[in-house]
Protein backbone atom coordinates (compact mmCIF):
# COMPACT_ATOMS: atom_id res chain seq x y z
CA UNK A 1 0.00 0.00 0.00
CA UNK A 2 1.29 3.46 -0.84
CA UNK A 3 1.90 5.93 1.97
CA UNK A 4 -1.16 8.01 2.84
CA UNK A 5 -1.36 11.58 4.18
CA UNK A 6 2.41 11.91 4.66
CA UNK A 7 2.39 15.73 4.95
CA UNK A 8 -0.23 15.52 7.70
CA UNK A 9 1.81 13.01 9.74
CA UNK A 10 5.05 14.90 9.10
CA UNK A 11 3.67 18.21 10.36
CA UNK A 12 1.86 16.53 13.27
CA UNK A 13 4.98 14.73 14.46
CA UNK A 14 7.22 17.77 13.93
CA UNK A 15 4.83 20.01 15.86
CA UNK A 16 4.66 17.48 18.69
CA UNK A 17 8.45 17.20 18.77
CA UNK A 18 8.94 20.99 18.88
CA UNK A 19 6.16 21.51 21.45
CA UNK A 20 7.67 18.81 23.62
CA UNK A 21 11.10 20.40 23.31
CA UNK A 22 9.72 23.80 24.36
CA UNK A 23 7.87 22.22 27.30
CA UNK A 24 11.11 20.61 28.50
CA UNK A 25 12.67 24.03 29.16
CA UNK A 26 9.52 25.93 30.12
CA UNK A 27 7.99 23.66 32.77
CA UNK A 28 9.15 24.23 36.33
CA UNK A 29 8.31 20.73 37.51
CA UNK A 30 11.19 18.49 36.47
CA UNK A 31 8.94 15.43 36.13
CA UNK A 32 6.75 17.29 33.64
CA UNK A 33 9.88 18.27 31.70
CA UNK A 34 10.97 14.64 31.58
CA UNK A 35 7.57 13.59 30.22
CA UNK A 36 7.72 16.34 27.59
CA UNK A 37 11.14 15.01 26.56
CA UNK A 38 9.61 11.54 26.18
CA UNK A 39 6.95 13.01 23.86
CA UNK A 40 9.70 14.63 21.77
CA UNK A 41 11.68 11.38 21.54
CA UNK A 42 8.58 9.42 20.52
CA UNK A 43 7.69 11.94 17.80
CA UNK A 44 11.24 11.75 16.46
CA UNK A 45 10.84 7.96 16.37
CA UNK A 46 7.70 8.50 14.29
CA UNK A 47 9.69 10.73 11.91
CA UNK A 48 12.31 7.98 11.50
CA UNK A 49 9.49 5.61 10.63
CA UNK A 50 8.34 8.04 7.93
CA UNK A 51 11.89 8.01 6.51
CA UNK A 52 11.62 4.23 5.98
CA UNK A 53 13.97 3.47 8.85
CA UNK A 54 11.85 1.15 11.04
CA UNK A 55 14.86 -0.29 12.87
CA UNK A 56 16.15 3.12 13.94
CA UNK A 57 12.63 4.07 15.05
CA UNK A 58 12.29 0.91 17.15
CA UNK A 59 15.70 1.36 18.72
CA UNK A 60 14.95 5.03 19.41
CA UNK A 61 11.86 4.00 21.40
CA UNK A 62 13.56 1.13 23.25
CA UNK A 63 16.83 2.88 24.10
CA UNK A 64 15.94 6.55 24.51
CA UNK A 65 12.25 6.64 25.45
CA UNK A 66 12.18 3.30 27.25
CA UNK A 67 15.63 3.05 28.78
CA UNK A 68 17.46 6.33 29.28
CA UNK A 69 14.40 8.40 30.15
CA UNK A 70 13.31 5.85 32.78
CA UNK A 71 16.66 6.37 34.49
CA UNK A 72 16.26 10.17 34.21
CA UNK A 73 12.83 9.93 35.79
CA UNK A 74 14.23 7.58 38.41
CA UNK A 75 16.73 10.24 39.52
CA UNK A 76 14.23 13.11 39.33
CA UNK A 77 11.75 11.17 41.46
CA UNK A 78 14.29 11.11 44.29
CA UNK A 79 14.96 14.87 44.12
CA UNK A 80 13.00 17.23 46.31
CA UNK A 81 10.88 18.85 43.62
CA UNK A 82 9.08 21.31 45.92
CA UNK A 83 12.25 23.25 46.63
CA UNK A 84 13.49 23.41 43.07
CA UNK A 85 10.05 24.56 41.89
CA UNK A 86 10.31 27.72 43.98
CA UNK A 87 13.62 28.69 42.40
CA UNK A 88 13.62 30.89 39.34
CA UNK A 89 13.69 28.73 36.23
CA UNK A 90 15.52 31.30 34.13
CA UNK A 91 18.70 33.08 35.11
CA UNK A 92 21.15 35.40 33.40
CA UNK A 93 22.21 32.86 30.78
CA UNK A 94 18.87 33.46 29.11
CA UNK A 95 20.25 36.03 26.66
CA UNK A 96 23.24 33.89 25.72
CA UNK A 97 20.91 30.98 25.08
CA UNK A 98 18.71 33.07 22.77
CA UNK A 99 21.75 34.34 20.87
CA UNK A 100 23.07 30.80 20.46
CA UNK A 101 19.66 29.54 19.31
CA UNK A 102 19.34 32.36 16.74
CA UNK A 103 22.87 31.69 15.46
CA UNK A 104 22.15 27.98 15.10
CA UNK A 105 18.86 28.74 13.34
CA UNK A 106 20.63 31.11 10.93
CA UNK A 107 23.19 28.40 10.22
CA UNK A 108 20.46 25.88 9.44
CA UNK A 109 18.65 28.33 7.14
CA UNK A 110 21.85 29.24 5.30
CA UNK A 111 22.77 25.57 4.81
CA UNK A 112 19.25 24.84 3.59
CA UNK A 113 19.30 27.77 1.11
CA UNK A 114 22.86 27.30 -0.18
CA UNK A 115 22.77 23.53 -0.56
CA UNK A 116 19.54 23.30 -2.51
CA UNK A 117 21.31 21.96 -5.56
CA UNK A 118 23.58 19.63 -3.60
CA UNK A 119 21.04 17.22 -2.20
CA UNK A 120 18.70 15.24 -4.44
CA UNK A 121 15.06 16.34 -4.32
CA UNK A 122 14.00 13.05 -2.83
CA UNK A 123 16.38 10.43 -1.48
CA UNK A 124 15.85 6.87 -2.59
CA UNK A 125 14.66 5.02 0.50
CA UNK A 126 16.14 1.65 1.32
CA UNK A 127 13.72 -1.21 0.82
CA UNK A 128 11.76 -1.39 4.05
CA UNK A 129 12.02 -5.17 4.30
CA UNK A 130 15.81 -5.28 4.18
CA UNK A 131 16.41 -2.09 6.16
CA UNK A 132 17.47 -3.85 9.34
CA UNK A 133 19.73 -6.21 7.44
CA UNK A 134 21.36 -3.31 5.58
CA UNK A 135 22.09 -1.50 8.85
CA UNK A 136 23.71 -4.64 10.24
CA UNK A 137 25.84 -5.14 7.13
CA UNK A 138 26.97 -1.51 7.14
CA UNK A 139 27.77 -1.53 10.86
CA UNK A 140 29.89 -4.67 10.59
CA UNK A 141 31.28 -3.80 7.16
CA UNK A 142 31.92 -0.21 6.06
CA UNK A 143 31.64 1.38 9.49
CA UNK A 144 33.29 -1.37 11.53
CA UNK A 145 35.97 0.97 12.90
CA UNK A 146 33.55 3.69 14.03
CA UNK A 147 31.28 1.06 15.55
CA UNK A 148 34.09 -0.53 17.54
CA UNK A 149 35.35 2.87 18.72
CA UNK A 150 31.85 3.76 19.93
CA UNK A 151 31.52 0.49 21.84
CA UNK A 152 34.97 1.01 23.37
CA UNK A 153 33.91 4.49 24.55
CA UNK A 154 30.81 3.01 26.16
CA UNK A 155 32.93 0.35 27.86
CA UNK A 156 35.21 3.07 29.23
CA UNK A 157 32.17 4.92 30.55
CA UNK A 158 30.87 1.77 32.29
CA UNK A 159 34.25 1.05 33.92
CA UNK A 160 34.57 4.71 34.96
CA UNK A 161 31.12 4.64 36.56
CA UNK A 162 31.93 1.46 38.48
CA UNK A 163 35.28 2.85 39.66
CA UNK A 164 33.68 6.09 40.85
CA UNK A 165 30.71 4.42 42.52
CA UNK A 166 32.55 1.66 44.34
CA UNK A 167 34.75 2.66 47.25
CA UNK A 168 36.77 -0.56 47.36
CA UNK A 169 37.36 -2.68 44.29
Amino acid sequence: MNPVATPFFFYLLSTLAILGGVMVIVRRNAVHSAIALIVTLLSVAGLYLMLYAPFVAGVQIIVYAGGIMVLFLFVIMLVNIDRSMKERAFNKQWWIAIAAAVALGALFVSVFVKSKGLFPERGLPLAEESNTQQIGLYLYGNYMFAFEIASLLLLVAIIGAVVMAKKRI
Binding site: P54, G58, I61, A65, V70, L73, F74, M77, E129
Partner: protein, 346 residues
Amino acid sequence: MLSIQTFLIVAVIKTLIALVVLLTAVAYTVWLERKVVGHMQNRWGPTRVGPFGLLQPLADGLKFILKEDLTPPHVNKPLYIAAPIIAMVFAITSIAVIPFGNPITVFGKQIPLQIADVNIGLLIILGITSMGVYGVALAGWSSNNKYSLLGGLRASAQMVSYEISLGLSLIGVLILAGSFSLKDIVDAQSGVFWGFIPKWNIFQGQIIAFFIYLCSAYAETNRIPFDLPEAETELVAGYHTEYSSMKFAMFFISEYANMMTVACLATILFLGGWHGPMFGPALLQAVLPLVWFGLKVFCFLFLYIWVRGTLPRFRYDQLMAFGWKFLLPLAIANLVITALVVAWTA
Protein backbone atom coordinates in the same frame (compact mmCIF):
# COMPACT_ATOMS: atom_id res chain seq x y z
CA MET B 1 -3.51 -5.17 -2.25
CA LEU B 2 -6.43 -3.61 -0.44
CA SER B 3 -7.60 -0.09 -1.09
CA ILE B 4 -7.28 2.38 1.76
CA GLN B 5 -11.00 2.32 2.61
CA THR B 6 -11.26 -1.47 2.88
CA PHE B 7 -7.96 -1.49 4.75
CA LEU B 8 -9.35 0.93 7.34
CA ILE B 9 -12.64 -0.96 7.72
CA VAL B 10 -10.87 -4.30 8.08
CA ALA B 11 -8.40 -2.79 10.55
CA VAL B 12 -11.20 -1.35 12.71
CA ILE B 13 -13.10 -4.65 12.73
CA LYS B 14 -9.97 -6.60 13.60
CA THR B 15 -9.07 -4.14 16.36
CA LEU B 16 -12.54 -4.44 17.89
CA ILE B 17 -12.46 -8.24 17.81
CA ALA B 18 -8.94 -8.36 19.25
CA LEU B 19 -9.87 -5.89 22.02
CA VAL B 20 -13.01 -7.80 23.02
CA VAL B 21 -11.18 -11.13 23.01
CA LEU B 22 -8.23 -9.68 24.94
CA LEU B 23 -10.35 -8.05 27.64
CA THR B 24 -12.51 -11.16 28.04
CA ALA B 25 -9.38 -13.27 28.28
CA VAL B 26 -8.00 -10.87 30.88
CA ALA B 27 -11.19 -11.11 32.95
CA TYR B 28 -11.19 -14.91 32.83
CA THR B 29 -7.46 -15.14 33.58
CA VAL B 30 -8.26 -13.38 36.85
CA TRP B 31 -11.04 -15.93 37.46
CA LEU B 32 -8.71 -18.81 36.55
CA GLU B 33 -6.03 -17.50 38.87
CA ARG B 34 -8.42 -17.21 41.82
CA LYS B 35 -9.85 -20.66 41.12
CA VAL B 36 -6.52 -22.45 40.60
CA VAL B 37 -4.71 -20.77 43.49
CA GLY B 38 -7.78 -21.48 45.62
CA HIS B 39 -7.64 -25.20 44.85
CA MET B 40 -3.88 -25.25 45.44
CA GLN B 41 -4.51 -23.82 48.90
CA ASN B 42 -7.38 -26.20 49.70
CA ARG B 43 -10.06 -23.56 49.13
CA TRP B 44 -12.83 -23.38 46.56
CA GLY B 45 -12.10 -20.00 45.00
CA PRO B 46 -15.10 -18.04 43.65
CA THR B 47 -18.29 -20.17 43.68
CA ARG B 48 -21.18 -17.82 44.39
CA VAL B 49 -21.76 -15.87 41.16
CA GLY B 50 -22.96 -18.17 38.39
CA PRO B 51 -21.96 -21.83 37.90
CA PHE B 52 -18.39 -22.43 39.21
CA GLY B 53 -18.24 -18.68 39.90
CA LEU B 54 -17.98 -18.08 36.15
CA LEU B 55 -19.77 -14.72 36.35
CA GLN B 56 -17.40 -13.47 39.04
CA PRO B 57 -15.41 -11.21 36.62
CA LEU B 58 -18.69 -9.50 35.68
CA ALA B 59 -19.53 -8.87 39.32
CA ASP B 60 -15.99 -7.58 39.95
CA GLY B 61 -16.20 -5.22 36.99
CA LEU B 62 -19.54 -3.87 38.16
CA LYS B 63 -18.13 -3.32 41.63
CA PHE B 64 -15.11 -1.46 40.25
CA ILE B 65 -17.33 0.86 38.22
CA LEU B 66 -19.81 1.57 41.02
CA LYS B 67 -17.22 2.26 43.74
CA GLU B 68 -16.44 5.82 44.74
CA ASP B 69 -13.42 7.20 42.91
CA LEU B 70 -11.32 8.85 45.59
CA THR B 71 -8.58 11.30 44.69
CA PRO B 72 -6.48 11.95 47.78
CA PRO B 73 -5.32 15.53 48.44
CA HIS B 74 -1.62 16.32 47.91
CA VAL B 75 -1.38 14.19 44.78
CA ASN B 76 0.00 15.62 41.53
CA LYS B 77 -3.38 15.55 39.83
CA PRO B 78 -2.58 15.48 36.09
CA LEU B 79 -0.02 12.71 36.49
CA TYR B 80 -2.14 10.86 39.05
CA ILE B 81 -4.91 10.62 36.45
CA ALA B 82 -2.57 9.99 33.51
CA ALA B 83 -0.61 7.14 35.12
CA PRO B 84 -3.28 4.38 34.94
CA ILE B 85 -4.18 5.51 31.42
CA ILE B 86 -0.54 5.23 30.31
CA ALA B 87 -0.20 1.81 31.93
CA MET B 88 -3.36 0.46 30.28
CA VAL B 89 -2.81 2.02 26.84
CA PHE B 90 0.67 0.57 26.47
CA ALA B 91 -0.43 -2.79 27.87
CA ILE B 92 -3.21 -3.09 25.30
CA THR B 93 -1.39 -1.58 22.28
CA SER B 94 1.08 -4.44 21.99
CA ILE B 95 -1.72 -6.81 20.89
CA ALA B 96 -1.71 -4.87 17.59
CA VAL B 97 1.33 -6.62 16.12
CA ILE B 98 0.71 -10.15 17.43
CA PRO B 99 -0.33 -12.67 14.73
CA PHE B 100 -2.87 -15.31 15.78
CA GLY B 101 -2.91 -17.56 12.74
CA ASN B 102 -2.39 -17.97 9.02
CA PRO B 103 -4.07 -15.39 6.76
CA ILE B 104 -7.68 -16.27 5.99
CA THR B 105 -9.60 -15.53 2.80
CA VAL B 106 -12.85 -13.60 3.18
CA PHE B 107 -14.88 -12.50 0.10
CA GLY B 108 -11.91 -13.34 -2.11
CA LYS B 109 -9.52 -11.09 -0.15
CA GLN B 110 -6.54 -12.29 1.85
CA ILE B 111 -6.83 -10.99 5.41
CA PRO B 112 -4.00 -11.64 7.86
CA LEU B 113 -5.10 -12.58 11.40
CA GLN B 114 -3.08 -9.71 12.81
CA ILE B 115 -4.00 -6.06 13.17
CA ALA B 116 -0.74 -4.72 11.72
CA ASP B 117 1.84 -6.90 9.98
CA VAL B 118 4.98 -4.82 10.51
CA ASN B 119 8.41 -6.15 9.72
CA ILE B 120 9.87 -5.00 13.04
CA GLY B 121 7.06 -6.55 15.09
CA LEU B 122 9.32 -7.79 17.85
CA LEU B 123 11.04 -4.40 18.25
CA ILE B 124 7.64 -2.71 18.47
CA ILE B 125 6.54 -5.06 21.26
CA LEU B 126 9.79 -4.52 23.17
CA GLY B 127 9.43 -0.75 22.74
CA ILE B 128 5.82 -0.70 23.91
CA THR B 129 6.50 -2.88 26.94
CA SER B 130 9.45 -0.69 27.89
CA MET B 131 7.15 2.34 27.71
CA GLY B 132 4.76 0.61 30.10
CA VAL B 133 7.19 1.33 32.96
CA TYR B 134 6.10 4.96 32.95
CA GLY B 135 2.60 4.11 34.12
CA VAL B 136 3.96 2.40 37.21
CA ALA B 137 6.77 4.88 37.89
CA LEU B 138 4.53 7.95 37.50
CA ALA B 139 1.79 6.38 39.61
CA GLY B 140 4.30 5.86 42.38
CA TRP B 141 5.65 9.39 42.20
CA SER B 142 2.40 11.31 41.69
CA SER B 143 0.61 9.61 44.62
CA ASN B 144 2.87 11.56 47.00
CA ASN B 145 3.06 8.61 49.36
CA LYS B 146 6.26 6.95 50.53
CA TYR B 147 5.00 3.40 49.96
CA SER B 148 3.86 4.29 46.44
CA LEU B 149 7.16 6.01 45.68
CA LEU B 150 9.18 3.01 46.88
CA GLY B 151 6.96 0.71 44.84
CA GLY B 152 7.38 2.87 41.73
CA LEU B 153 11.16 3.05 42.19
CA ARG B 154 11.44 -0.69 42.66
CA ALA B 155 9.27 -1.33 39.62
CA SER B 156 11.28 0.92 37.33
CA ALA B 157 14.65 -0.44 38.54
CA GLN B 158 13.43 -4.01 38.17
CA MET B 159 11.93 -3.52 34.73
CA VAL B 160 14.99 -1.74 33.35
CA SER B 161 17.29 -4.46 34.73
CA TYR B 162 15.34 -7.42 33.41
CA GLU B 163 14.58 -5.83 30.05
CA ILE B 164 18.20 -6.43 29.04
CA SER B 165 18.15 -10.19 29.64
CA LEU B 166 14.69 -10.34 28.07
CA GLY B 167 15.96 -8.65 24.90
CA LEU B 168 19.11 -10.79 24.77
CA SER B 169 17.13 -14.02 25.19
CA LEU B 170 15.08 -13.14 22.10
CA ILE B 171 18.10 -12.56 19.86
CA GLY B 172 18.86 -16.30 19.65
CA VAL B 173 15.41 -16.82 18.17
CA LEU B 174 15.99 -13.91 15.79
CA ILE B 175 19.25 -15.48 14.58
CA LEU B 176 17.47 -18.78 13.90
CA ALA B 177 14.56 -17.14 12.07
CA GLY B 178 16.53 -14.35 10.36
CA SER B 179 13.69 -11.85 10.69
CA PHE B 180 12.07 -9.39 13.10
CA SER B 181 8.61 -10.11 11.74
CA LEU B 182 6.62 -12.27 14.15
CA LYS B 183 4.87 -13.99 11.24
CA ASP B 184 8.17 -15.02 9.65
CA ILE B 185 9.42 -16.29 13.01
CA VAL B 186 6.37 -18.54 13.34
CA ASP B 187 6.70 -19.73 9.74
CA ALA B 188 10.33 -20.68 10.40
CA GLN B 189 9.10 -23.11 13.09
CA SER B 190 6.80 -25.23 10.91
CA GLY B 191 7.58 -28.89 10.25
CA VAL B 192 8.98 -31.69 12.42
CA PHE B 193 12.29 -33.44 13.22
CA TRP B 194 12.45 -37.23 12.69
CA GLY B 195 8.73 -37.34 12.08
CA PHE B 196 7.44 -36.53 15.57
CA ILE B 197 9.32 -33.71 17.40
CA PRO B 198 7.87 -30.37 16.29
CA LYS B 199 10.40 -27.88 14.98
CA TRP B 200 9.65 -25.30 17.67
CA ASN B 201 12.46 -23.02 18.76
CA ILE B 202 12.40 -24.50 22.25
CA PHE B 203 13.42 -27.84 20.69
CA GLN B 204 15.99 -26.16 18.45
CA GLY B 205 18.42 -25.54 21.28
CA GLN B 206 16.68 -22.41 22.59
CA ILE B 207 15.53 -24.01 25.84
CA ILE B 208 17.96 -21.90 27.88
CA ALA B 209 16.70 -18.82 26.10
CA PHE B 210 13.17 -19.89 27.01
CA PHE B 211 14.16 -20.17 30.67
CA ILE B 212 15.73 -16.69 30.59
CA TYR B 213 12.66 -15.34 28.83
CA LEU B 214 10.40 -16.94 31.43
CA CYS B 215 12.27 -15.41 34.39
CA SER B 216 12.59 -11.97 32.79
CA ALA B 217 8.96 -12.01 31.71
CA TYR B 218 7.82 -12.73 35.27
CA ALA B 219 9.96 -9.85 36.48
CA GLU B 220 8.72 -7.53 33.73
CA THR B 221 5.08 -8.18 34.59
CA ASN B 222 5.75 -7.81 38.34
CA ARG B 223 4.48 -11.27 39.19
CA ILE B 224 5.48 -13.62 41.99
CA PRO B 225 8.33 -14.47 42.61
CA PHE B 226 9.37 -11.01 41.39
CA ASP B 227 6.45 -8.93 42.67
CA LEU B 228 8.63 -6.67 44.81
CA PRO B 229 6.90 -3.46 43.58
CA GLU B 230 3.70 -4.53 45.33
CA ALA B 231 5.07 -6.57 48.22
CA GLU B 232 2.15 -6.38 50.66
CA THR B 233 4.22 -7.08 53.74
CA GLU B 234 6.51 -4.10 53.19
CA LEU B 235 4.76 -1.62 50.90
CA VAL B 236 0.99 -1.92 51.57
CA ALA B 237 0.11 -2.26 47.86
CA GLY B 238 3.12 -0.56 46.25
CA TYR B 239 2.56 1.90 43.45
CA HIS B 240 -1.25 1.60 43.45
CA THR B 241 -1.74 2.15 47.18
CA GLU B 242 -3.61 5.42 46.62
CA TYR B 243 -5.74 4.24 43.72
CA SER B 244 -9.33 3.12 44.05
CA SER B 245 -12.25 1.97 41.91
CA MET B 246 -11.77 2.10 38.11
CA LYS B 247 -8.28 3.64 38.27
CA PHE B 248 -7.11 0.65 40.30
CA ALA B 249 -8.93 -1.63 37.87
CA MET B 250 -6.96 -0.10 35.02
CA PHE B 251 -3.68 -1.10 36.68
CA PHE B 252 -5.16 -4.53 37.28
CA ILE B 253 -6.21 -4.90 33.65
CA SER B 254 -2.85 -3.67 32.41
CA GLU B 255 -1.02 -6.24 34.56
CA TYR B 256 -3.09 -9.09 33.16
CA ALA B 257 -2.96 -7.71 29.61
CA ASN B 258 0.83 -7.66 29.94
CA MET B 259 0.67 -11.29 31.03
CA MET B 260 -1.35 -12.08 27.90
CA THR B 261 1.20 -10.29 25.70
CA VAL B 262 4.05 -12.17 27.33
CA ALA B 263 2.20 -15.47 26.89
CA CYS B 264 1.43 -14.73 23.21
CA LEU B 265 5.06 -13.76 22.61
CA ALA B 266 6.33 -16.93 24.29
CA THR B 267 3.98 -18.97 22.10
CA ILE B 268 5.13 -17.22 18.95
CA LEU B 269 8.84 -17.19 19.66
CA PHE B 270 9.46 -20.49 21.42
CA LEU B 271 6.41 -22.74 21.17
CA GLY B 272 5.80 -22.71 17.45
CA GLY B 273 2.93 -20.21 17.30
CA TRP B 274 -0.18 -21.68 15.71
CA HIS B 275 1.54 -24.79 14.35
CA GLY B 276 0.23 -28.14 15.58
CA PRO B 277 -1.20 -31.40 14.27
CA MET B 278 -3.69 -30.77 11.46
CA PHE B 279 -6.56 -33.16 10.76
CA GLY B 280 -10.26 -33.31 9.93
CA PRO B 281 -12.39 -31.52 7.32
CA ALA B 282 -11.52 -28.15 5.79
CA LEU B 283 -13.59 -26.13 8.23
CA LEU B 284 -11.88 -27.74 11.21
CA GLN B 285 -8.49 -27.19 9.59
CA ALA B 286 -9.27 -23.48 9.31
CA VAL B 287 -10.05 -23.25 13.03
CA LEU B 288 -7.32 -25.56 14.35
CA PRO B 289 -4.42 -23.02 14.21
CA LEU B 290 -6.40 -20.65 16.43
CA VAL B 291 -7.16 -23.52 18.80
CA TRP B 292 -3.48 -24.50 19.06
CA PHE B 293 -2.49 -20.88 19.62
CA GLY B 294 -5.08 -20.44 22.34
CA LEU B 295 -4.12 -23.73 23.98
CA LYS B 296 -0.43 -22.79 24.14
CA VAL B 297 -1.24 -19.37 25.56
CA PHE B 298 -3.47 -21.03 28.15
CA CYS B 299 -0.70 -23.44 29.17
CA PHE B 300 1.74 -20.56 29.59
CA LEU B 301 -0.78 -18.62 31.71
CA PHE B 302 -1.43 -21.72 33.80
CA LEU B 303 2.32 -21.95 34.42
CA TYR B 304 2.21 -18.33 35.61
CA ILE B 305 -0.50 -19.18 38.14
CA TRP B 306 1.19 -22.41 39.14
CA VAL B 307 4.41 -20.55 39.90
CA ARG B 308 2.44 -18.01 41.88
CA GLY B 309 0.94 -20.78 43.99
CA THR B 310 4.33 -22.42 44.53
CA LEU B 311 7.20 -19.97 44.96
CA PRO B 312 7.82 -17.40 47.69
CA ARG B 313 8.93 -13.83 46.95
CA PHE B 314 12.58 -12.91 46.36
CA ARG B 315 14.40 -10.43 48.55
CA TYR B 316 15.32 -7.21 46.75
CA ASP B 317 19.09 -7.79 46.66
CA GLN B 318 18.49 -11.39 45.53
CA LEU B 319 16.33 -10.04 42.72
CA MET B 320 19.03 -7.68 41.46
CA ALA B 321 21.83 -10.26 41.85
CA PHE B 322 19.77 -12.87 40.00
CA GLY B 323 19.10 -10.48 37.12
CA TRP B 324 22.57 -9.02 36.67
CA LYS B 325 24.89 -11.79 37.84
CA PHE B 326 23.08 -14.89 36.62
CA LEU B 327 20.52 -14.19 33.88
CA LEU B 328 22.56 -11.61 31.94
CA PRO B 329 25.78 -13.71 31.59
CA LEU B 330 23.65 -16.76 30.79
CA ALA B 331 21.80 -14.82 28.08
CA ILE B 332 25.08 -13.58 26.55
CA ALA B 333 26.54 -17.13 26.59
CA ASN B 334 23.41 -18.50 24.95
CA LEU B 335 23.60 -15.78 22.30
CA VAL B 336 27.27 -16.49 21.49
CA ILE B 337 26.71 -20.26 21.31
CA THR B 338 23.63 -19.89 19.09
CA ALA B 339 25.51 -17.53 16.77
CA LEU B 340 28.46 -19.94 16.55
CA VAL B 341 26.22 -22.92 15.79
CA VAL B 342 24.29 -21.00 13.14
CA ALA B 343 27.53 -19.74 11.56
CA TRP B 344 28.97 -23.29 11.62
CA THR B 345 25.98 -24.94 9.98
CA ALA B 346 25.22 -22.15 7.50
